[in-house]
């Protein structure tokens, strides 16, 4: 029973840690499926986290914060879209620019507004997303094995966690089942064919990039309004890049992306929980070894288990109409 509750605690923590990854990963999925490589996920997360924390602090409402986060992220997405789609610029360079701009701008504006080294003041009460309890969670707790799983792992998260799952569902369904989704996929594989069919390539790509902006906005708001209570400079700590790795791992598909992000979150949670715990047969594992574990496993998994990951064929290539 002791082991079970420990395992449940790890899963619970893994869910919490994987949510920002999942939002960013889905954002990357939309963008890259339409043929626009997006390594600016990190920057958009950061900008959204800052805008969300600042707006939530100013208004005392987490929902306003979320809206501001989405708007900030959309702004950066438009910059990236303008450079990559309208100007046919190099998408990697534009993404790097977004990252650097966000890292510098958030710290600078934060310091100018609050004078706390780029930090926003700590958020309290309604300015944060509080965990919600799913119906019947307390009643279900009594059921062996499944009860605690439902009550602790599935229930008791903030609304944004469930929004992430919903976003995965919508992404998968839209891409697979709708006309719009088909066109997005087509424009990422063969934009010339889409153009020939009389559908606007830039419009589709802009739509995908903006959807990515909205998703990154949710991810960033989750970081500063749910996971932490306020913004800190560089608080994304490379999550945007881990999300890109997860995207490759998931071969640019939505449900596998959920799995990959959860795996990364889980590894992170395990590395936190294993610290200072004596392992049977091994004894106390050094902190450093535990912390290297997620990265080592990532390399092993990426190298050995996923097989060939083939990106959308036109991703990274600006579309030039032939004349």
């Amino acid at each position: 029973m002791e082991e079970l509750s420990a395992a449940i605690a790890v899963f619970d923590s893994g869910v919490r840690l994987s949510v920002p990854l999942l939002f960013a990963c889905l954002a990357g999925l939309w963008s890259e499926r339409s043929g626009v490589v997006d390594i600016g996920l990190e920057g958009k997360l950061l900008a959204a986290a800052f805008a969300a924390a600042a707006a939530a602090h100013a208004t005392g409402s987490a929902w306003t914060g979320l809206g501001a986060g989405v708007l900030a992220s959309l702004g950066f997405a438009l910059v990236h879209g303008f450079a990559a789609i309208a100007q046919r610029g190099n998408q990697i360079v534009s993404g790097v620019a977004v990252n650097m701009l966000a890292a510098g701008l958030t710290a600078l504006v934060g310091n100018a507004w609050y004078g706390q080294g780029g930090r926003t003041p700590a958020l309290e009460g309604a300015a944060r997303f509080e965990p919600i309890t799913l119906p019947g969670a307390e009643a279900a707790r009594g059921i062996p094995a499944l009860g605690p799983l439902y009550a602790d792992v599935l229930s008791g998260h903030t609304v944004l966690v469930y929004a992430a799952v919903l976003a995965t569902l919508l992404t998968a369904a839209t891409l697979k089942r709708t006309r719009f989704g088909l066109r997005i996929r087509a424009v990422g594989e063969n934009p010339a064919a889409v153009d020939t069919a009389g559908v606007s390539v830039p419009a589709l790509r802009y739509a995908a990039v903006l959807i990515a902006g909205v998703l990154c906005g949710f991810g960033g708001a989750y970081l500063s309004l749910a996971q932490a209570a306020g913004f800190l400079p560089q608080m994304t700590a490379g999550k945007g890049f881990i999300a890109l790795a997860a995207l490759i791992f998931a071969k640019w598909r939505a449900w596998p992306a959920l799995g990959a992000c959860f795996l990364f979150g889980l590894l992170d949670a395990i590395s936190i929980r294993l610290q200072g715990v004596s392992m049977p047969g091994i004894g106390l594992v050094p902190v450093q070894a535990i912390q290297a574990l997620p990265y080592a496993l990532t390399v092993v998994l990426l190298a050995g288990f996923i097989g060939r990951a083939i990106p959308p064929r036109a991703s990274g290539l600006p579309y030039v109409k032939e004349r």
Partner: protein, 331 residues
């Protein structure tokens, strides 16, 4: 030509004389990676410096480094611009201070938390194990489960020293007490990761801890938040952090870096600044625990008297708190 050289020499001489008298004190501070507003260690120095500015009316300059390479640059720039004393905050500045102090033998340096052996460096270290002992004792007395937690920042001997004193305090009050210990990381980023700090605290709470002490700079903000969110108690460190979550922070282990900063600046102003090692413990009021309106209801008279007695015993030598840094071991 000759007259210009003479003039220059005279100017230099005069400048040197003014410095020697210690009239024109131009203090400067280089903060550590946690940043000026970490509500903890660095902020203590900031509070002290602001205090000095108000009392003495002397402006100071400061610098928040963004990465390790900037330590040396910042120290050198301040030294070159004639700032003195220059307070370097944190153990990780030791090698930079050592190097720059050699290049600028006329500048005065004060390093906090580490000993640098140079003729123009004042080293201020604290007996954190004594203060940690007292909060450990309070934690054990406040705990209902008999399990308490510790979250450290970067895994270095200094933080192990906090942990070791804390464990000794817990065991002193409750020999059966158990201490869950975690370190956040092994790099400087471990001081600024409140999300991870919060996850570590949640992990300890899941394992039964109901009082959690942090020695993790900015990361600790997440630890205190997680403890408060879960209805458990946190213990702050370095600065008084009781007001971060009133009624949810049992106490704070105070490390009077503010006093150390003010003293260093003041001594430089009065011309009594001396290089060498200063060790501040309970006896010198360099460490202690915080009791204010935010946590008065959490500290029972019994806990207060036990902590006061232990403090008196440590000062008199009746209780010997083992220092981890002495032999890199914890009993």
């Amino acid at each position: 030509m000759r007259s210009t050289i003479l003039g220059l020499a005279a100017g230099l001489f005069l400048g040197g004389a003014a410095l020697a008298q210690g009239q024109a004190v131009k203090p400067a501070i280089v903060y550590d990676l946690g940043g000026k507003f970490d509500k903890s260690f660095n902020e203590g120095v900031y509070t002290g410096a602001e205090q000095f500015k108000k009392d003495a009316g002397v402006e100071y300059r400061d610098f928040e480094i963004q990465n390790d390479a900037q330590r040396e640059q910042a120290l050198r720039r301040f030294a070159r611009d004639g700032y003195s004393p220059i307070v370097a905050v944190g153990f990780s500045q030791a090698s930079a201070v050592e190097k720059v102090a050699k290049e600028f033998p006329n500048a005065k340096f004060t390093i906090i938390d580490m000993v640098v052996d140079a003729p123009n460096v004042q080293s201020i270290v604290f007996k954190e194990h004594e203060g940690s002992f007292l909060v450990g004792l309070l934690a054990a007395k406040a705990s209902k489960t008999g399990k308490v937690g510790f979250v450290g920042g970067m895994d270095i001997p200094l933080i192990r020293k906090f942990a070791c004193g804390y464990v000794q305090g817990v065991k002193y009050a409750n020999p059966q007490g158990e201490v869950l210990q975690n370190m956040t990381g092994t790099t400087g980023a471990a001081w600024t990761d409140p999300v991870k700090g919060g996850e570590l605290a949640k992990a300890q709470i899941d394992r039964g801890a109901d009082v959690i002490y942090h020695a993790a700079g900015g990361t600790g903000i997440g630890v205190l938040r997680a403890a408060a969110d879960a209805g458990k108690l946190g213990i702050g460190v370095d600065s008084n952090q009781n007001m971060l979550h009133p009624g949810k922070v049992l106490t704070s282990m105070l490390k009077r870096v503010d006093v150390a900063t003010v003293d260093s600046f003041k001594a430089a102003k009065d011309g009594t600044w001396k290089p060498g090692v200063t060790v501040l413990g309970l006896k010198e009021n360099g460490v202690g625990w915080a009791l204010d309106d935010n946590n008065r209801s959490l500290i029972t008279p019994d806990m207060k008297s036990a902590a006061d007695k232990a403090a008196a015993d440590i000062v008199s030598g009746a209780i010997q708190v083992h220092d981890y840094m002495a032999d890199q071991k914890c009993p």
